[in-house]
């Protein structure tokens, strides 16, 4: 923990933080628009959340409480490494409880516990451009955004229907922000898309390799693209969590043996644990992260 003294607060130098902060302010003022920024090399490889880490480092303050999740879990490698990174370089308090956190960095999930005003959700984004797999040229996608020319994405979703009978996109499902910009919600399952709409928390997106930052201010209209005769439908599960019994939440499939045994459990570990250990004060230690 005393390593905090040998790094600048939250690792990044102050000039880099100012550059990222200026990009963040533009991103909030133009919801859904991808602001280019001078992404730095971080002490972790691309794909491990370098964009999210830089955004978190730029917003984090000494009195913040940080939570980091990877696919909903607090205890997987990526989440643990990033949480420890900020414990060491910023000395901030960390938590696994969604409701206790002021800043939550996430890889591909939105917590099940509803977010509240004042919280900041930071997404790690691999490919920020929703049109990239349809149009590889950045000059061209820039122009498409400028002209609000999103027909190509509707054609893509239509081809899904022609081929599969329904829209087969299940994650990174494209959304329209405040009626203007087409946005990639990062590879979150489409189950989470409705949580982005009119969310009371501030949502920030960082793509390190692609050097882009974008944002959703609180209470912003976020609409998943669809057709009148093929409306958007979030993923539904025909069962509840095998551990806590919760229904209407996102489930992970866990293989339990080599004879085809499997169980479906909450993807959000904090949500699942808090349901199994009420009241929280009675069972300390369960959610504690070893340091």
């Amino acid at each position: 923990m005393s390593d905090a003294a040998v790094y600048n607060f939250a690792y990044l130098d102050e000039q880099t933080k100012r550059m990222i902060r200026r990009a963040l302010l533009k991103a909030v003022a133009i919801p859904g628009y991808q602001v280019p920024f001078a992404s730095r090399e971080m002490p972790m490889p691309y794909g491990w959340g370098t964009g999210g880490v830089q955004v978190t480092a730029a917003v984090l303050g000494a009195d913040d409480t940080l939570k980091v999740i990877d696919q909903g879990a607090d205890d997987t490698t990526n989440a643990v490494s990033i949480r420890k990174f900020f414990e060491r370089t910023a000395g901030v308090a960390t938590t696994t409880h969604t409701s206790d956190a002021t800043v939550i960095q996430t890889r591909h999930r939105i917590p099940e516990t509803p977010l509240r005003e004042g919280q900041i959700l930071v997404y790690q984004v691999p490919i920020p451009e929703p049109l990239r797999f349809l149009e590889p040229r950045e000059t061209e996608t820039r122009r498409q955004h400028a002209l609000e020319d999103y027909g190509l994405m509707h054609v893509k979703l239509y081809e899904d229907i022609a081929r599969h009978g329904h829209i087969a996109t299940t994650y990174a499902y494209p959304v329209k922000v405040d009626g203007r910009y087409l946005m990639d919600p990062s590879p979150t399952p489409k189950f989470d898309n409705p949580k982005m709409d009119m969310c009371p928390a501030l949502q920030l997106f960082g793509a390190g390799r692609e050097k882009r930052i974008y944002a959703l201010p609180p209470y912003t209209r976020v609409v998943s693209l669809d057709f009148e005769d093929h409306p958007f439908e979030p993923t539904k599960f025909d069962r509840g969590c095998a551990l806590c019994g919760a229904e209407g939440i996102y489930l992970d499939e866990v293989v339990t043996d080599d004879c085809g045994g499997r169980m479906f459990v909450c993807s959000d570990t904090d949500f699942c644990e808090s349901r199994r250990t009420p009241p929280r004060a009675a069972a300390p230690g369960l959610n504690e992260v070893p340091r």
């Binding site: 533009k26 003022a29 917003v59 910009y181 009371p200 201010p217």
Partner: protein
């Protein structure tokens, strides 16, 4: 002017800058919401500590800052900003990254500041406007960051400011973002805020 005459900047440059940034981020994320910003700065007059703190937190050698007529002759404010931020002072507001307005009644039209391009709307001016008063009454806004509607107005401002705000929104995604600063509070109107037109 000697260096020793320049007023001190942030006491804790790392954490003060972070705190001020979060206040500005919160203001832009919640248009029209007025929030206290306790800046422990004593900048040269007529600069408010709030406006000074915003520029110290955001400007550096990569940005240009334009000072309005109330300041350009005032070498003390210019020297203060140059010394603490290293920012280049812009000769025209038309291409500045940041603009500092201390006499809002005579400020240039919003449309004449840098608006960004259709491909890069972020290449626009962020205008810090020093006002005497702000209140949650008067104009009504809706849009991103506003749960339902919010009322906001500030004074003094140019007479045709309501029309200018509507036109600024009409240029979206191009346009300018406004940060208002009284002696103690800040509030913001990003270009995304839509003003309710009244007769």
């Amino acid at each position: 002017m000697s260096i020793s005459a320049v007023a001190p900047g942030f006491t804790d440059s790392v954490h003060d800058a972070q705190r001020v940034f979060r206040a500005v981020l919160g203001a832009l994320a919640r248009p029209g919401r007025i929030a206290r910003l306790d800046a422990t700065l004593v900048p040269p007059p007529p600069l408010h500590s709030t406006a000074a703190a915003i520029l110290l937190a955001l400007a550096d050698f990569e940005t240009t800052v334009w000072l309005d007529d109330g300041l350009s002759d005032d070498s003390e404010v210019a020297e203060f900003l140059r010394f603490h931020t290293g920012a280049r002072l812009a000769s025209s507001w038309r291409e500045a990254d940041f603009a500092l307005v201390t006499v809002p009644e005579r400020m240039p039209a919003l449309a004449t500041f840098a608006q960004g391009t259709p491909e890069y709307p972020d290449r626009s001016t962020t205008i810090v406007i020093q006002v005497e008063a702000m209140t949650n009454a008067g104009w009504e806004f809706f849009g991103p960051g506003i749960p339902d509607r919010v009322q906001f107005s500030a004074a003094p401002l140019p007479l045709d400011f309501q029309r200018q705000l509507a036109e600024n929104r009409a240029r979206f995604p191009r346009g300018v973002d406004l940060i208002f600063a009284t002696a103690a509070d800040i509030a913001a109107l990003p270009r995304s805020a839509r003003i309710v037109e009244r007769a």
